[in-house]
């Protein structure tokens, strides 16, 4: 039997998802019995040949990313978005809250408003797009593996299914199901909030490792975040930051978080204690319903 051919590449990401693939250790050797990686940052070939499966890590932030991504789509039968950046835009997507010019200025310090882009960008340093976009907004994506990074086991499960020609199935409820901390106040229908105040978890005198973070007054993204990470942060006594992105039943993470939290934690406290926007959209700004600042705002400077 011919091996399934695979190509992998990264766009605007941190390479963490590729590291997660390597973290399969011996399982990777086993997997390589069925697949052959023809091109990847790991192997010598960087040109993308025709393959069965392409794995793409990272969001689309530059003109170079667009070019690379379109090439991968052309050359592959199935394209898999690997990791939260590719699926939803990820951390770097937070730059969509600013105009491109503001971003350049903040990076290069001296930049003047009327500088031509060529000063900063060239063939080797591809020009920034106006906004960061998830892979799915540029090309058709056949399957998404969320996670920052995805668990090695998840990558394996998906690849094994694809090798067999099956549609992979990933769990899609919210993280509370994996967390297992005890809820008491949240299960009481009352007008009152479940906590008197909102506190940063660093300020907790003692972190109760058995009790729901929300009930301790700490903002936790778990309820508006997809399961699949085995709640490792929560088991390590740290609240969820939402890196798995929204569960598929929600349209977007930030607004959904507000819908839920507003009747759970004191809204006033949240406003003063937490960066509501930064928290809700930390990993998924480019896949929000309004994925960047108002385009009028953008146009006015162009």
């Amino acid at each position: 039997m011919n091996k399934i051919t695979v190509a992998t590449d990264w766009l605007q990401g941190c390479s963490g998802c590729h590291i997660s693939l390597l973290d399969l250790h011996q399982d990777l050797v086993e997997l390589l019995g069925d697949i052959e990686i023809l091109s990847s940052p790991f192997v010598d070939t960087k040109d993308i040949p025709k393959v069965d499966i392409a794995l793409v890590e990272g969001a689309v932030g530059t003109k170079g990313d667009v070019k690379k991504l379109k090439k991968m789509r052309e050359q592959s039968k199935l394209l898999v978005a690997l990791g939260t950046c590719a699926c939803f835009g990820g951390i770097s997507g937070l730059r969509n809250l600013y105009q491109k010019q503001e971003v350049i200025k903040s990076c290069y310090g001296q930049a003047g408003d009327n500088d031509p882009e060529e000063i900063y960008f060239s063939e080797d340093v591809p020009a920034l797009l106006d906004n960061v976009q998830p892979v799915g907004k540029i090309v058709k994506v056949d399957f998404q593996i969320p996670g920052c990074p995805p668990l090695p086991g998840t990558i394996k499960t998906v690849l094994q299914a694809l090798i067999k020609g099956e549609v992979p199935v990933l769990p899609q409820r919210s993280l509370c199901v994996e967390c297992g901390r005890q809820q008491i106040e949240l299960l009481k229908p009352t007008r009152e909030f479940i906590s008197d105040s909102v506190i940063s978890f660093m300020e907790l005198e003692e972190i109760d490792s058995e009790k729901c973070f929300l009930e301790q007054g700490v903002l936790c993204m778990g309820l508006a975040t997809r399961e699949g990470c085995h709640a490792r942060c929560l088991k390590g006594n740290v609240p969820c930051r939402g890196c798995m992105g929204p569960p598929p039943g929600a349209m977007e993470q930030g607004a959904k978080l507000i819908n839920s939290l507003a009747s759970v934690l004191p809204a006033g406290g949240l406003m003063f204690m937490e960066d509501v926007v930064g928290t809700g959209y930390r990993y998924s700004m480019p896949s929000s319903i309004i994925p960047h600042i108002s385009s009028k705002e953008n146009e006015s400077d162009e």
Partner: protein, 529 residues
């Protein structure tokens, strides 16, 4: 699905703004269409029902009058019952209010009138397509009635019910002299003697109501009498002590029926349905009753309404909330926290939310609060609302466009009332009816701005008036946080307005809309994305 569009020109009223025949012709390729002068004339109603049957329609859209027109008149409600009898699910009957929301408020007859009518119809067709049929469960009506308040009218009602072989539980908060026949006025003594001697009469004094749940025909009423608990199963409730404001304030959060500006229970319609409350199994004896003759007349009216409800083999209860999608629900508990009707529970073994259909009012709080999107409101499915926003946003107009979310309980009624008073507003104001203004999903507001609306207005009930108890408070909390999201996208948060609408004071709602419109026009729609 075969949709029938039935147009009413309302005896020419609507034709003043739109060429109804031409509008109907627009849909004749894909839908069954028929135009009437007035649905309620005998001939036309017969014809309408016959056409629904002959064409074996699956869904019906009544275009012309406000849906309130059907709710406020028994005779008009009758049309809906007849349509349901023909096998059309209640959720597959739609309304497009071309009268109050178009013809009356936008004088003239321009291409914009036509386009707006078309979009309003398209949006409602979308609802009929997206909305699944409601599950209708048969209820065997219990011939037992609770009368709250040992008042004169209460005894009068009890007497009539007893005569008709109903069992009566009279519930009185005070340790009443009520039971002491000798202390009553002369004319009441024979009445009380009859009632007290009747084997089917039960008096609970010193009783307070803890909870009422269930639906018309089959309620459970939890009482504590003298420190001990009793659970009564009853078919309907009559409130006989409606002028008692203290009692009303205690009962309102338990009975979940509308109150008016002064805090009294509000009848469904003061003029036409004065003994009906906003809940189908709870009836009121109007408080204006003075003089024994009039008192017995209003008591009889309430009794007649109860008998009309319960004197049948089977009642139909419609369930408005969807089942939990177990593939999505993680049992996080948010729905339990937000449901003040105590209708949600978490199954600890399965870690999924379960709904108690007997307690659920279909308000949609849990749908909005659910962070995983595991639940949906069958009457206004999420997908429909998003599609409706998209459809309404297609209105081609130079001036500003405002989307107004109209709460069933307040805003919709307020805008209708304003229209009847002769108020006018710009054609770029596009209305969308929702179950409860308080349960607006912030994702929907984002979608509206995304689709090019310059402003969004949300109507919610005044404090203490929300039939979903905390819907209005939750909305304020959400909006406080959500403004930050709008600001982050550099959309002026002032372009989202929240109006305390009231059913009777329509001015406030309109004023707010006009003010926003004015602000948007002067800034050239600067709020737009």
């Amino acid at each position: 699905m075969k949709v029938g569009l039935l147009f009413s020109t309302m005896n020419g009223l609507i034709s003043r703004a739109i060429d109804v025949e031409q509008l109907a012709a627009n849909y004749s390729n894909n839908c069954f269409v028929s135009v009437y002068e007035n649905f309620f004339s005998i001939d036309e109603m017969q014809d309408l029902l016959k056409k629904i049957e002959d064409n074996s329609l699956d869904a019906v859209l009544l275009i012309g009058e406000s849906p309130l027109a059907y709710r406020n008149r028994r005779s008009a409600e009758h049309l809906l019952e007849r349509i349901e009898d023909l096998g059309i699910n209640p959720n597959k009957i739609g309304f497009v209010n071309l009268n109050e929301q178009l013809a009356l408020v936008h004088p003239g007859k321009t291409v914009y009138h036509f386009e707006k009518a078309k979009l309003m119809i398209d949006a409602e067709i979308m609802r009929l397509k997206e909305a699944e049929g409601l599950e209708v469960i048969p209820v065997a009506p219990r011939k037992t009635v609770a009368v709250i308040g040992a008042t004169t009218t209460g005894y009068m009602a009890a007497q009539q019910l007893l005569r008709k072989n109903y069992t009566v539980h009279m519930i009185e908060k005070n340790e009443a002299e009520a039971s002491d026949v000798t202390k009553s006025e002369d004319y009441l003594q024979p009445l009380k003697t009859f009632v007290f001697n009747h084997p089917n009469f039960n008096l609970h004094t010193d009783a307070s109501i803890n909870e009422l749940y269930g639906y018309a025909g089959d309620y459970s009423l939890a009482l504590s009498v003298d420190g001990s608990f009793r659970l009564l199963t009853i078919g309907a409730v009559i409130i006989a002590d409606v002028s008692n404001l203290v009692l009303t304030r205690e009962l309102q959060p338990l009975l979940h029926i509308d109150i008016d500006e002064q805090g009294y229970f509000r009848p469904k319609n003061l003029d036409t349905l004065s003994v009906y409350s906003s809940e189908p199994g709870i009836f009121l004896i109007p408080r204006e009753a003075v003089g024994t003759g009039y008192m017995s007349a209003v008591a009889d009216s309430a009794v007649l309404a109860v008998i009309e409800l319960l004197d049948c083999q089977e009642l139909r209860h419609k369930i408005a909330i969807s089942e939990t999608d177990t593939l999505l629900c993680s049992g996080c508990g948010t729905c339990v926290k937000t449901c003040l009707f105590h209708a949600c529970k978490i199954d600890p073994a399965e870690k999924v939310s379960i709904i108690d259909a007997k307690r659920c009012k279909g308000c949609g709080s849990c749908v909005t609060a659910c962070p995983a999107g595991a639940r949906d409101l069958l009457t206004y499915p999420k997908q429909y609302l998003f599609n409706a926003v998209d459809i309404l946003s297609q209105m081609q107009i130079q001036d500003s466009k405002i989307l107004v979310f109209l709460c069933e309980g307040c805003g919709y009624q307020a805008l209708d009332a304003a229209a009847l008073k002769g108020v006018q507003y710009p054609i770029g104001v596009l209305p969308l009816k929702v179950r409860c203004g308080g349960t607006i999903d912030t994702q929907l507001i984002l979608e509206a701005f995304h689709r090019g609306f310059d402003g969004v207005v949300i109507c919610k009930c005044q404090d203490g008036h929300c039939s979903n108890i905390t819907g209005n408070i939750d909305l304020d909390r959400r909006a406080n946080l959500f403004r930050e999201v709008l600001r982050s996208r550099r959309i002026d948060p002032d372009c989202m307005r929240i109006v305390d609408a009231s059913q009777t004071d329509s001015n406030k709602c309109i004023e707010e809309i006009l003010e926003l419109y004015q602000a948007l026009t002067t800034t050239g729609g600067g709020c737009n994305e």
